[in-house]
Protein backbone atom coordinates (compact mmCIF):
# COMPACT_ATOMS: atom_id res chain seq x y z
CA UNK A 1 0.00 0.00 0.00
CA UNK A 2 1.38 3.40 -0.94
CA UNK A 3 1.76 6.22 1.53
CA UNK A 4 -1.09 8.12 -0.12
CA UNK A 5 -3.33 5.10 0.16
CA UNK A 6 -2.51 4.74 3.85
CA UNK A 7 -3.48 8.36 4.42
CA UNK A 8 -6.76 7.92 2.55
CA UNK A 9 -7.63 4.70 4.36
CA UNK A 10 -6.74 6.10 7.77
CA UNK A 11 -8.81 9.22 7.19
CA UNK A 12 -11.74 7.19 5.93
CA UNK A 13 -11.56 4.93 8.99
CA UNK A 14 -11.50 7.97 11.28
CA UNK A 15 -14.59 9.34 9.59
CA UNK A 16 -16.44 6.05 9.93
CA UNK A 17 -15.52 5.70 13.60
CA UNK A 18 -16.41 9.27 14.43
CA UNK A 19 -19.72 9.30 12.61
CA UNK A 20 -20.66 6.35 14.74
CA UNK A 21 -19.75 7.96 18.05
CA UNK A 22 -20.57 11.66 17.79
CA UNK A 23 -18.54 14.88 18.14
CA UNK A 24 -18.27 18.87 17.85
CA UNK A 25 -15.99 21.70 16.64
CA UNK A 26 -16.47 25.25 15.36
CA UNK A 27 -15.16 25.44 11.78
CA UNK A 28 -18.64 26.32 10.52
CA UNK A 29 -20.49 29.38 11.78
CA UNK A 30 -24.05 30.64 11.68
CA UNK A 31 -25.54 31.61 8.30
CA UNK A 32 -23.78 34.78 7.21
CA UNK A 33 -21.03 34.56 9.83
CA UNK A 34 -17.31 35.11 9.36
CA UNK A 35 -14.64 33.48 11.49
CA UNK A 36 -10.88 34.01 11.74
CA UNK A 37 -8.78 31.18 13.15
CA UNK A 38 -5.07 30.96 13.96
CA UNK A 39 -3.49 27.78 15.29
CA UNK A 40 0.12 27.22 16.22
CA UNK A 41 1.19 23.87 17.63
CA UNK A 42 4.54 22.18 18.13
CA UNK A 43 5.06 21.64 14.41
CA UNK A 44 2.88 23.91 12.32
CA UNK A 45 1.05 27.22 12.13
CA UNK A 46 -2.27 27.54 10.36
CA UNK A 47 -4.51 30.49 9.56
CA UNK A 48 -8.03 30.18 8.20
CA UNK A 49 -10.63 32.81 7.45
CA UNK A 50 -14.00 31.38 6.52
CA UNK A 51 -17.51 32.42 5.69
CA UNK A 52 -20.59 30.28 6.29
CA UNK A 53 -23.36 30.75 3.70
CA UNK A 54 -25.45 28.28 5.70
CA UNK A 55 -24.95 26.68 9.13
CA UNK A 56 -23.89 23.44 7.45
CA UNK A 57 -20.84 24.49 5.46
CA UNK A 58 -18.19 27.15 5.22
CA UNK A 59 -15.72 28.29 2.60
CA UNK A 60 -12.49 30.08 3.32
CA UNK A 61 -8.83 30.63 2.66
CA UNK A 62 -6.29 28.49 4.47
CA UNK A 63 -2.58 29.07 4.95
CA UNK A 64 -0.50 26.30 6.51
CA UNK A 65 3.13 26.63 7.46
CA UNK A 66 4.84 23.41 8.46
CA UNK A 67 7.70 24.88 10.46
CA UNK A 68 9.54 21.60 10.84
CA UNK A 69 9.62 20.76 7.12
CA UNK A 70 9.61 24.39 5.92
CA UNK A 71 6.61 23.97 3.66
CA UNK A 72 3.97 26.59 2.99
CA UNK A 73 0.51 25.70 1.71
CA UNK A 74 -2.11 28.17 0.51
CA UNK A 75 -5.52 27.32 -0.83
CA UNK A 76 -9.28 27.59 -0.46
CA UNK A 77 -10.90 25.28 2.07
CA UNK A 78 -14.44 23.96 2.27
CA UNK A 79 -15.79 22.55 5.51
CA UNK A 80 -18.97 20.56 5.80
CA UNK A 81 -20.91 19.92 8.97
CA UNK A 82 -21.67 16.26 8.38
CA UNK A 83 -23.71 15.74 11.52
CA UNK A 84 -24.73 17.67 14.59
CA UNK A 85 -26.32 16.19 17.68
CA UNK A 86 -28.30 18.49 19.94
CA UNK A 87 -28.99 17.72 23.58
CA UNK A 88 -30.37 19.46 26.60
CA UNK A 89 -26.85 19.87 27.99
CA UNK A 90 -24.53 18.97 25.17
CA UNK A 91 -23.69 19.50 21.56
CA UNK A 92 -21.73 17.19 19.30
CA UNK A 93 -20.55 17.55 15.72
CA UNK A 94 -18.62 15.86 12.98
CA UNK A 95 -17.03 17.99 10.29
CA UNK A 96 -15.26 17.01 7.08
CA UNK A 97 -12.97 19.42 5.33
CA UNK A 98 -10.88 19.62 2.22
CA UNK A 99 -8.53 22.18 0.70
CA UNK A 100 -6.76 22.39 -2.63
CA UNK A 101 -4.06 24.85 -3.55
CA UNK A 102 -0.32 25.24 -3.92
CA UNK A 103 2.58 24.27 -1.69
CA UNK A 104 6.22 25.21 -1.84
CA UNK A 105 9.35 25.01 0.22
CA UNK A 106 10.34 28.00 2.31
CA UNK A 107 13.39 28.86 4.38
CA UNK A 108 15.88 26.01 4.13
CA UNK A 109 13.57 24.01 1.89
CA UNK A 110 14.08 24.95 -1.76
CA UNK A 111 11.21 22.78 -3.01
CA UNK A 112 9.40 24.31 -5.95
CA UNK A 113 5.73 25.19 -5.92
CA UNK A 114 3.30 22.45 -6.85
CA UNK A 115 -0.35 21.51 -6.53
CA UNK A 116 -1.35 20.19 -3.14
CA UNK A 117 -4.45 18.89 -1.41
CA UNK A 118 -5.44 18.49 2.19
CA UNK A 119 -8.38 16.68 3.71
CA UNK A 120 -9.55 15.60 7.09
CA UNK A 121 -12.11 15.27 9.81
CA UNK A 122 -12.85 17.11 13.04
CA UNK A 123 -15.20 16.00 15.73
CA UNK A 124 -16.09 16.97 19.24
CA UNK A 125 -18.54 16.56 22.08
CA UNK A 126 -19.04 19.34 24.57
CA UNK A 127 -21.02 20.19 27.65
CA UNK A 128 -20.46 23.30 29.74
CA UNK A 129 -18.15 21.27 31.97
CA UNK A 130 -16.50 18.67 29.73
CA UNK A 131 -14.94 18.70 26.29
CA UNK A 132 -13.64 15.93 24.04
CA UNK A 133 -12.39 16.35 20.49
CA UNK A 134 -10.54 14.57 17.72
CA UNK A 135 -9.10 15.80 14.47
CA UNK A 136 -7.09 14.22 11.70
CA UNK A 137 -5.85 15.34 8.36
CA UNK A 138 -3.68 14.22 5.53
CA UNK A 139 -1.62 16.45 3.25
CA UNK A 140 -0.37 15.55 -0.21
CA UNK A 141 1.96 17.66 -2.32
CA UNK A 142 3.57 15.17 -4.69
CA UNK A 143 7.29 14.74 -4.17
CA UNK A 144 7.40 17.86 -2.00
CA UNK A 145 5.65 16.39 1.00
CA UNK A 146 2.99 13.95 2.18
CA UNK A 147 2.02 13.90 5.82
CA UNK A 148 -0.65 12.72 8.20
CA UNK A 149 -1.49 13.88 11.69
CA UNK A 150 -4.18 13.23 14.25
CA UNK A 151 -4.87 14.72 17.64
CA UNK A 152 -7.28 14.12 20.47
CA UNK A 153 -8.11 16.46 23.29
CA UNK A 154 -9.97 16.31 26.58
CA UNK A 155 -10.91 19.33 28.66
CA UNK A 156 -12.51 20.32 31.92
CA UNK A 157 -14.01 23.66 32.98
CA UNK A 158 -13.13 24.43 36.62
CA UNK A 159 -16.25 26.58 36.86
CA UNK A 160 -19.36 27.05 34.73
CA UNK A 161 -19.84 30.59 33.44
CA UNK A 162 -22.88 32.17 31.89
CA UNK A 163 -23.11 34.09 28.63
CA UNK A 164 -20.57 36.87 28.23
CA UNK A 165 -18.49 35.91 31.27
CA UNK A 166 -14.96 34.59 30.98
CA UNK A 167 -15.02 30.84 30.38
CA UNK A 168 -11.89 28.93 31.34
CA UNK A 169 -10.93 25.41 30.37
CA UNK A 170 -8.03 23.17 31.34
CA UNK A 171 -7.16 20.78 28.53
CA UNK A 172 -4.63 18.29 27.37
CA UNK A 173 -3.95 17.42 23.76
CA UNK A 174 -2.23 14.31 22.50
CA UNK A 175 -1.10 14.45 18.90
CA UNK A 176 0.31 11.80 16.63
CA UNK A 177 2.59 12.75 13.74
CA UNK A 178 4.20 9.66 12.23
CA UNK A 179 6.83 11.70 10.38
CA UNK A 180 7.98 13.68 13.40
CA UNK A 181 11.08 12.53 15.34
CA UNK A 182 8.79 12.69 18.38
CA UNK A 183 5.68 11.07 16.88
CA UNK A 184 3.57 11.37 20.02
CA UNK A 185 3.21 14.84 21.49
CA UNK A 186 1.61 15.89 24.75
CA UNK A 187 0.46 19.48 25.19
CA UNK A 188 -1.35 20.75 28.29
CA UNK A 189 -3.17 24.00 27.61
CA UNK A 190 -5.62 26.53 28.95
CA UNK A 191 -8.53 27.92 26.97
CA UNK A 192 -10.09 31.30 27.62
CA UNK A 193 -13.39 31.97 25.97
CA UNK A 194 -15.39 35.18 26.14
CA UNK A 195 -18.07 36.32 23.73
CA UNK A 196 -16.81 36.03 20.17
CA UNK A 197 -13.16 35.42 21.12
CA UNK A 198 -11.42 32.18 22.04
CA UNK A 199 -7.75 32.04 23.05
CA UNK A 200 -5.67 28.99 23.90
CA UNK A 201 -2.13 28.81 25.26
CA UNK A 202 -0.23 25.62 25.93
CA UNK A 203 3.18 24.08 26.04
CA UNK A 204 4.29 20.88 24.37
CA UNK A 205 6.10 18.94 27.08
CA UNK A 206 7.34 16.59 24.37
CA UNK A 207 9.59 19.04 22.59
CA UNK A 208 9.30 22.29 24.52
CA UNK A 209 7.32 24.32 22.02
CA UNK A 210 4.36 26.61 22.59
CA UNK A 211 0.79 26.17 21.44
CA UNK A 212 -1.09 29.38 20.70
CA UNK A 213 -4.55 29.32 19.15
CA UNK A 214 -6.98 32.14 18.57
CA UNK A 215 -10.46 32.22 17.09
CA UNK A 216 -12.70 35.21 16.58
CA UNK A 217 -16.26 34.96 15.32
CA UNK A 218 -17.65 38.06 13.61
Amino acid sequence: MTRNSRVAVTTACAVVVLVGTGAVARPVSYAGGWTAIEQTDRQATMALVHYSPTPTYSIGLRIDWDRRDDILFVGPQATWLAKRWFGEDYQANVYLFGAAGAAKGVGDNDGEARAAVLGGVMADWETRRLFVSYRAHGFEAGDLDATFMQAARVGFAPYVANTGALHTWLMIEIDHRPDNPEPIGVTPLVRFFKGPALFEAGWSVTDDRPLVNFTYRF
Partner: protein, 152 residues
Protein backbone atom coordinates in the same frame (compact mmCIF):
# COMPACT_ATOMS: atom_id res chain seq x y z
CA UNK B 1 10.67 30.65 28.94
CA UNK B 2 8.76 27.47 29.74
CA UNK B 3 8.55 28.35 33.44
CA UNK B 4 7.37 31.87 32.69
CA UNK B 5 4.75 30.53 30.28
CA UNK B 6 3.42 27.99 32.75
CA UNK B 7 3.41 30.50 35.62
CA UNK B 8 1.47 33.00 33.52
CA UNK B 9 -1.04 30.38 32.48
CA UNK B 10 -1.54 29.21 36.06
CA UNK B 11 -2.02 32.78 37.26
CA UNK B 12 -4.57 33.51 34.56
CA UNK B 13 -6.59 30.39 35.33
CA UNK B 14 -6.51 31.06 39.07
CA UNK B 15 -7.58 34.69 38.55
CA UNK B 16 -10.39 33.73 36.19
CA UNK B 17 -11.66 31.02 38.51
CA UNK B 18 -11.59 33.31 41.53
CA UNK B 19 -13.26 36.15 39.64
CA UNK B 20 -15.95 33.85 38.32
CA UNK B 21 -16.57 32.47 41.80
CA UNK B 22 -17.33 35.97 43.05
CA UNK B 23 -19.41 36.74 39.96
CA UNK B 24 -21.38 33.55 40.47
CA UNK B 25 -22.22 34.54 44.02
CA UNK B 26 -23.53 37.87 42.75
CA UNK B 27 -25.63 36.12 40.14
CA UNK B 28 -27.18 33.82 42.71
CA UNK B 29 -28.25 36.81 44.78
CA UNK B 30 -29.81 38.46 41.76
CA UNK B 31 -31.63 35.34 40.69
CA UNK B 32 -33.13 34.82 44.11
CA UNK B 33 -34.16 38.45 44.41
CA UNK B 34 -35.92 38.79 41.10
CA UNK B 35 -36.23 35.42 39.47
CA UNK B 36 -39.77 35.88 38.17
CA UNK B 37 -38.61 38.70 35.92
CA UNK B 38 -35.63 36.80 34.62
CA UNK B 39 -32.01 36.74 35.65
CA UNK B 40 -30.20 40.01 36.12
CA UNK B 41 -26.91 39.13 34.46
CA UNK B 42 -24.18 41.52 33.50
CA UNK B 43 -24.29 43.87 30.54
CA UNK B 44 -22.46 41.51 28.24
CA UNK B 45 -25.41 39.10 28.41
CA UNK B 46 -27.42 41.44 26.25
CA UNK B 47 -26.66 41.91 22.60
CA UNK B 48 -28.90 43.72 20.18
CA UNK B 49 -27.95 45.54 16.99
CA UNK B 50 -25.43 47.47 19.06
CA UNK B 51 -24.00 46.55 22.47
CA UNK B 52 -26.85 47.20 24.89
CA UNK B 53 -27.05 47.73 28.66
CA UNK B 54 -28.30 44.92 30.88
CA UNK B 55 -31.69 46.57 31.11
CA UNK B 56 -32.21 46.62 27.34
CA UNK B 57 -34.39 43.54 27.36
CA UNK B 58 -36.54 44.85 30.20
CA UNK B 59 -36.64 48.33 28.66
CA UNK B 60 -37.76 46.97 25.32
CA UNK B 61 -40.48 44.97 27.06
CA UNK B 62 -41.56 48.01 29.08
CA UNK B 63 -41.81 49.96 25.84
CA UNK B 64 -44.47 47.57 24.67
CA UNK B 65 -42.48 44.85 23.01
CA UNK B 66 -43.45 41.20 23.29
CA UNK B 67 -41.21 38.90 25.34
CA UNK B 68 -40.67 35.56 23.65
CA UNK B 69 -38.61 32.87 25.39
CA UNK B 70 -37.15 30.15 23.21
CA UNK B 71 -35.87 26.96 24.81
CA UNK B 72 -32.90 25.94 22.68
CA UNK B 73 -31.08 22.63 22.45
CA UNK B 74 -27.32 22.42 22.17
CA UNK B 75 -26.48 25.79 23.70
CA UNK B 76 -23.22 25.23 25.57
CA UNK B 77 -20.89 28.15 24.87
CA UNK B 78 -20.58 31.81 23.96
CA UNK B 79 -20.24 31.07 20.23
CA UNK B 80 -23.80 29.70 20.42
CA UNK B 81 -24.91 32.99 21.99
CA UNK B 82 -23.07 35.05 19.39
CA UNK B 83 -24.66 33.06 16.57
CA UNK B 84 -28.20 33.51 17.83
CA UNK B 85 -27.81 37.14 18.85
CA UNK B 86 -26.31 38.05 15.47
CA UNK B 87 -28.95 36.10 13.56
CA UNK B 88 -31.91 37.63 15.38
CA UNK B 89 -30.40 41.12 15.47
CA UNK B 90 -30.72 41.26 11.68
CA UNK B 91 -34.50 41.19 11.96
CA UNK B 92 -36.29 44.53 12.04
CA UNK B 93 -38.98 43.11 14.36
CA UNK B 94 -36.42 42.42 17.09
CA UNK B 95 -35.60 45.09 19.68
CA UNK B 96 -33.28 43.07 21.92
CA UNK B 97 -32.10 39.52 22.50
CA UNK B 98 -30.32 37.66 25.25
CA UNK B 99 -28.98 34.13 25.33
CA UNK B 100 -28.77 32.61 28.79
CA UNK B 101 -26.54 29.55 29.02
CA UNK B 102 -27.80 28.72 32.53
CA UNK B 103 -31.43 28.69 31.43
CA UNK B 104 -30.60 27.38 27.95
CA UNK B 105 -32.90 30.02 26.55
CA UNK B 106 -32.93 32.71 23.94
CA UNK B 107 -35.00 35.67 25.10
CA UNK B 108 -36.35 37.96 22.41
CA UNK B 109 -38.22 41.21 22.84
CA UNK B 110 -39.88 42.51 19.70
CA UNK B 111 -40.44 46.11 18.79
CA UNK B 112 -43.83 47.49 19.94
CA UNK B 113 -46.68 46.24 17.80
CA UNK B 114 -44.55 43.62 16.06
CA UNK B 115 -44.07 39.92 16.56
CA UNK B 116 -42.25 36.91 15.19
CA UNK B 117 -44.16 33.77 14.28
CA UNK B 118 -43.06 30.48 15.81
CA UNK B 119 -42.18 29.07 12.41
CA UNK B 120 -39.96 32.07 11.71
CA UNK B 121 -38.24 31.74 15.08
CA UNK B 122 -37.58 28.06 14.47
CA UNK B 123 -36.16 28.90 11.05
CA UNK B 124 -33.86 31.58 12.49
CA UNK B 125 -32.63 29.33 15.30
CA UNK B 126 -31.89 26.68 12.69
CA UNK B 127 -29.98 29.16 10.53
CA UNK B 128 -27.91 29.99 13.61
CA UNK B 129 -27.07 26.29 13.79
CA UNK B 130 -29.28 25.16 16.67
CA UNK B 131 -32.62 23.57 17.36
CA UNK B 132 -35.74 24.89 19.05
CA UNK B 133 -37.29 22.79 21.81
CA UNK B 134 -40.13 25.10 22.79
CA UNK B 135 -41.33 28.67 22.31
CA UNK B 136 -43.06 30.39 25.22
CA UNK B 137 -45.04 33.61 25.18
CA UNK B 138 -47.21 35.48 27.65
CA UNK B 139 -47.29 34.05 31.16
CA UNK B 140 -45.46 30.95 29.98
CA UNK B 141 -42.49 33.11 29.02
CA UNK B 142 -41.77 33.83 32.67
CA UNK B 143 -42.13 30.24 33.81
CA UNK B 144 -39.13 28.05 34.38
CA UNK B 145 -38.00 25.85 31.53
CA UNK B 146 -39.77 22.50 31.71
CA UNK B 147 -37.61 19.40 32.05
CA UNK B 148 -37.00 17.67 28.76
CA UNK B 149 -39.06 14.63 27.91
CA UNK B 150 -36.38 12.01 27.29
CA UNK B 151 -38.91 9.65 25.78
CA UNK B 152 -39.58 11.85 22.77
Amino acid sequence: MKKIFLAAAFSLVASATLAQHNHGADNDDGAMMDHAQGHNHEATDVVALEPAPASALEAAEAAGGELIVVDVLGVVCDFCAVAMNKTFAKRSEVAATRVDLDDKTLKIVTRPGQTLADAEIEKLVKSAGYRTRAIRRGDAANEARAPIDETR
